[in-house]
């Protein structure tokens, strides 16, 4: 019996490895640092993430596969890798003072984030359902813990438990879907699945895969965990989940459906179009009713998943690049919005109600202006990143014959304006609320906010380079 040596091209997964190693280093560092030195572990994580970003840039245009075609380095994956890393860097910048104020400043916190990032990076480079599944679990398990990280806060624990139960539940469906796809085609490799003949079992498997992805990116009707988990989890983790998980899961979602299942496109496109309509509509309408800003942003993130789904339905190069650009824009914008919420907290108290934002424009004009920009970008106003993203998505939809879906999307973004403006209205037009002082913004939080702001404006005013990078990178 001969044993062939697989092609161990470690360069292809260098970003994943670097983040994984940093996670281990940070975890070990936890043992040898005093409580005053935990901040250093955060800096170490930043270094690891930046190094991974450098390694990822080295993979641009590499177009290589490794490990028996289980992972694939294409520009699609590199773009999402960088998006996720950007999200993680911003999240860690926001975390330094937040974790101290909330007394959860430990090495595990950073290590778990890094482990989760490892899973995300693996997920967007995976070219095999087995790897996608493992990556999905690797990104989810640390997040279950992180959601419950504030152990003395019952809401946080509740968020962790709910997230875990529903997450594990959905992974079982996902796994069943993989098994059926495997049974129908005899392979788990995405490209080889595409090469085999469609069958009923494959269709059922695809449907179960869809359920699994729908849970992770929070599509209606598999969205109901989102508001509770987002509300209960520590705000930095909520921010991280809302962007990075979406980027990673959508990366695998796009890859799985566009690479492996184009033969079934006739079937899943209609289903996804209906889901997109439901997701956008429910997300936006429910967000209208929320008084808690974290819940509002949770529903808004559901709605944004709906917009991105339009890009998947549109398919084609335009759809893929629109989805990638949108994910990047959404990552920066949403982290900015959450960052502003974090920056406005006072010790362990956070401004969670929209009414808490009263009069902030006078106490913190800069921060209020930033939050306004992020909200306008989420609502899709030019000249910010969110507008270009929506423009590309609706353009892709119209181009590929889904004009009605673009109409629904446009009407939805109209509804969304109303709730995105509510904190803005409170900040500029209401009187300050009793019991809140003028917020003091920590330097690192300010740095994260400024970085996000620059990104949001730059992507809005000069979107050409990012669009070019997002175009046509999905390797088959």
């Amino acid at each position: 019996m001969s044993l062939s040596v697989p092609d161990l091209n470690l360069r292809i997964i260098a970003p994943v490895l670097i983040v994984a190693i940093s996670a281990l280093v940070v975890l070990l560092g936890e043992l040898v640092t005093s409580s005053a030195q935990k901040r250093g572990l955060g800096y170490a994580s930043l270094v690891g993430l930046l190094a991974a970003g450098g390694a990822a840039m080295g993979l641009w245009d590499a177009h290589a596969v490794a490990f028996r075609e289980m992972v694939r380095a294409d520009n699609f994956g590199v773009f999402l890798t960088l998006t996720i890393l950007a999200g993680a860097v911003l999240c860690i910048l926001l975390s330094f003072d937040f974790t101290r104020a909330h007394r959860i400043e430990t090495g595990e916190y950073y290590a778990l984030i890094l482990f989760s990032v490892t899973g995300m990076l693996l997920m967007v480079t995976a070219a095999d359902l087995i790897i996608i599944f493992l990556a999905l679990e690797l990104l989810s398990l640390p997040l279950y813990i992180l959601a419950a990280f504030k152990r003395e806060d019952e809401r946080s624990l509740e968020a962790g438990l709910k997230y875990f139960l529903l997450g594990a539940f959905s992974s079982a469906f996902f796994l069943y879907g993989i098994a059926l796809v495997y049974g129908a085609t005899g392979t788990t490799n995405l490209a080889r699945i595409a090469a085999s003949a469609p069958s009923e079992m494959l269709l059922i498997g695809a449907g179960l895969l869809l359920v699994g992805f729908a849970f992770k990116v929070a599509l209606v009707p598999f969205h109901w965990w989102t508001p509770d988990v987002y509300e209960g989890a520590p705000t930095t983790i909520t921010a991280f989940m809302s962007v990075a998980v979406k980027a990673a899961a959508f990366g695998a979602f796009l890859r799985a459906f566009l690479v492996a299942l184009p033969a079934l496109a006739m079937d899943w496109r209609v289903v996804l179009a209906i889901i997109a309509v439901l997701t956008m509509t429910l997300g936006n309408v429910a967000a209208l009713l929320q008084a808690n800003i974290k819940r509002m942003l949770a529903y808004s993130s559901i709605a944004h998943a709906g917009y991105i789904l339009i890009a998947l339905v549109a398919m084609g190069g335009a759809g893929v690049s629109a989805a990638l650009f949108y994910l990047l824009a959404y990552t920066l914008t949403n982290l900015g919005a959450f960052g502003a919420v974090i920056a406005l907290g006072e010790g362990e108290r956070e401004r969670l109600n929209v009414s808490d934002y009263g009069g902030l424009a006078r106490m913190q004009p800069l921060l209020a202006a930033m939050l306004t920009v992020f909200m306008l970008s989420l609502a899709g106003f030019p000249p910010f990143a969110g507008f270009v993203g929506k423009f590309l998505i609706f353009g892709a939809a119209v181009q590929n014959g889904w004009a009605w879906l673009a109409v629904v999307g446009v009407l939805n973004s109209l509804v969304s304006v109303y709730f995105y403006l509510r904190p803005v209205v409170a900040m500029y037009m209401s009187e300050p609320v009793e019991g809140w002082g003028a917020p003091r913004v920590a330097p690192l939080v300010a740095l994260a906010l400024v970085l996000a702001l620059i990104g949001v404006i730059a992507l809005g005013v000069f979107p050409a380079p990012a669009i070019a990078l997002a175009a046509g990178g999905l390797g088959r």
Binding site: S321, A361, R362, P365, L376, F381, P382, P383, F387, V388, F391, L392, F394, G395, V398, Q399, A403, A406, V407, V410, L411, S413, L414, V417, Y418, L421, V425, Y428, M429, F462, P463, A464, I467, A468, A471
Partner: protein, 519 residues
């Protein structure tokens, strides 16, 4: 030649807005901000004046001061700006009204001055941007950019008793509904003009020659009505006008001036710049319904205005009436019929001149209402009377502006309305006849409601003496108020007696536009 003239014009207010934000906090910072903003806003006015009166060639039908750079290469979006006879006067008017608005506000805005002047300058960038954009994507970006500051101007500095937040969000959502439909139409046109090898275009000039959906009347109609709705809401054309009275009543004086003077023009400007050249067939096929909507706006606007007791609401409804003439003129210019090019050009010239005139006249009227409101703290027409004798300067200015508004010969309004009707009688005689009613009602509302109620009659000494104890005092116009209004009054008279100053410019472009679409 001024390099990057139009880019400068767009960017200067933005830079000014940024500097306003940077002026350090201190005891005198408010007065510094006001002083700076007013002086700074004069620079775009001077630049625009120089461009129009010195460099601009009124006989050239092509775009002038053009700049074009590739902006978003993958979807062929260009930063393409330029002005012609249609946009140049409106750009100039924007810079003028901004200066006047800022100057007036520097005396009456005491709260949150920094934000006010910031928003105002940002608004100017948005408005100029729309007028100079020759790329539909860029046009849309500026279109939306102007929306946000106006929203804040109404919501924050609006009159507290007029539900400013409600009015602001109503204005915002109405405009947004229209503009998102326009966005879809923009995307559709882009995709329709693209081929397998070449990308589509957002360029307004190219679109006018390529005529998207030329062979597909259904899609052309969809795109047309999508864009139509965006502009019709902005104009506002009946039945999309309901946001206007609320927004106007609530807005601070300078906000109302800009809203009436410029923002409404964005809609009619869009009609002439986008709908007529790009969708001539669809427009021609739908001239009748559009002209009927214009008629309703004209007659209904005047009638409702007459029924108002609130001075500012009255002026707001009179805007519905006056903007109706613009749409009537445009419709008359493209209508199918035997009329020759001259008749059509007269109608379009009238429509374009009416845009400019309405900006001048209604801008002035909103200043006048605001000045009265500052003193009396009421806009109820019934509570005034005899102001003509009590405050003669105010009376004279109000009289002039009202006469201009109702179309008295010798003042600006007459010229444009006359031209609109002159053109409309040639192509849409029946509709034009009905619209004459609007003129009658318009005159009635100005004479009967405004002049009689406010200026004539008996001054209620007792009532105002009583009011004076509460710090309400009716006094005549102060110097800064006269300075604010003087340029507008000058323009009313100038255009009234010597319209050629502007008509030559307009005529070149309307002949060019109509020559493209009418055989």
């Amino acid at each position: 030649m001024v390099p990057f003239a139009l880019s400068l014009l767009v960017l200067l207010p933005l830079v000014g807005a940024a500097i306003v934000l940077l002026i350090p906090k201190g005891q005198k910072s408010d007065s510094l901000i006001k002083w700076f903003a007013v002086v700074w806003s004069v620079i775009p006015l001077l630049l625009a004046s120089y461009l129009w009166f010195v460099l601009f060639d009124p006989n050239a039908s092509k775009m002038q001061f053009e700049e074009a750079y590739l902006w978003i290469s993958s979807i062929n979006v260009r930063y393409h700006v330029g002005v012609d006879g249609l946009s140049m006067p409106l750009v100039w008017l924007t810079t003028l009204l901004t200066v006047l608005g800022l100057f007036y506000s520097s005396y009456v805005i005491h709260e949150r001055a920094r934000e006010f002047f910031f928003m105002f300058l940002l608004l100017e960038t948005g408005m100029i941007g729309v007028f100079v954009s020759l790329d539909f994507f860029l046009f849309y970006v500026f279109w939306e950019l102007g929306l946000v500051p106006m929203y804040f101007l109404i919501a924050i500095w609006g009159h507290a008793e007029d539900r400013p937040q409600y009015s602001a969000i109503k204005f915002f959502l109405y405009t947004l509904v229209g503009s998102v439909l326009m966005l879809l139409a923009i995307i559709a046109m882009y995709i329709n003009t693209s081929t397998a090898t070449t990308p589509g275009t957002f360029d307004l000039i190219e679109l006018a020659t390529k005529r998207p959906f030329a062979n597909d009347f259904v899609f052309a109609s969809l795109a047309f009505w999508g864009i139509f709705l965006a502009f019709a809401i902005k104009v506002p054309l009946f039945p999309f006008h309901t946001w206007l009275p609320d927004a106007h009543t609530a807005a601070p004086t300078a906000g109302s001036v800009i809203l009436a003077g410029i923002l409404l023009k964005l809609g009619t400007y869009g009609f002439v710049r986008v709908l007529v050249p790009i969708f001539p067939q669809v427009f021609q096929a739908n001239v009748l319904p559009i002209a009927i909507l214009a008629t309703i706006s004209i007659v209904y606007g005047a009638l409702v205005a007459m029924a108002q007791t609130d001075f500012k609401r009255l002026i707001a409804y009179s805007s519905v009436n006056h903007m109706g003439y613009v749409i009537l003129g445009v419709a008359a210019a493209v209508a199918i019929g035997g009329a020759n090019l001259t008749d059509r050009a007269i109608a379009l010239n009238g429509a374009m001149l009416q845009m400019f005139n309405h900006g001048v006249i209604t801008g002035a009227l909103f200043f006048i209402v605001g000045i009265l409101y500052e003193r009396a703290h009421t806009r109820d027409l019934k509570s005034f009377g005899g102001l003509g004798a009590k405050t003669p300067v105010y009376g004279a200015i109000l009289l002039t502006a009202s006469f201009a508004s109702l179309g008295l010969p010798g003042l600006a309004g007459f010229i444009s309305e006359f031209m609109v009707f002159r053109g409309a009688f040639a192509t849409l005689p029946l509709i034009a006849t009905i619209c004459v009613l609007g003129i009658v009602f318009g005159a009635a509302m100005m004479l009967w409601k405004v002049i009689q109620n406010v200026l004539l009659g008996v001054f209620d000494e007792k009532r105002w003496a009583e009011q004076e104890k509460h710090g309400v005092k009716l006094y005549d116009m102060t110097r800064f108020e006269v300075i604010t209004l003087a340029p507008l009054l000058f323009l009313m008279v100038l255009i009234g007696v010597y319209p050629s100053v502007i008509l030559n410019t307009l005529n070149t472009i309307s002949v060019a536009i109509l020559g493209q679409i009418v055989k």
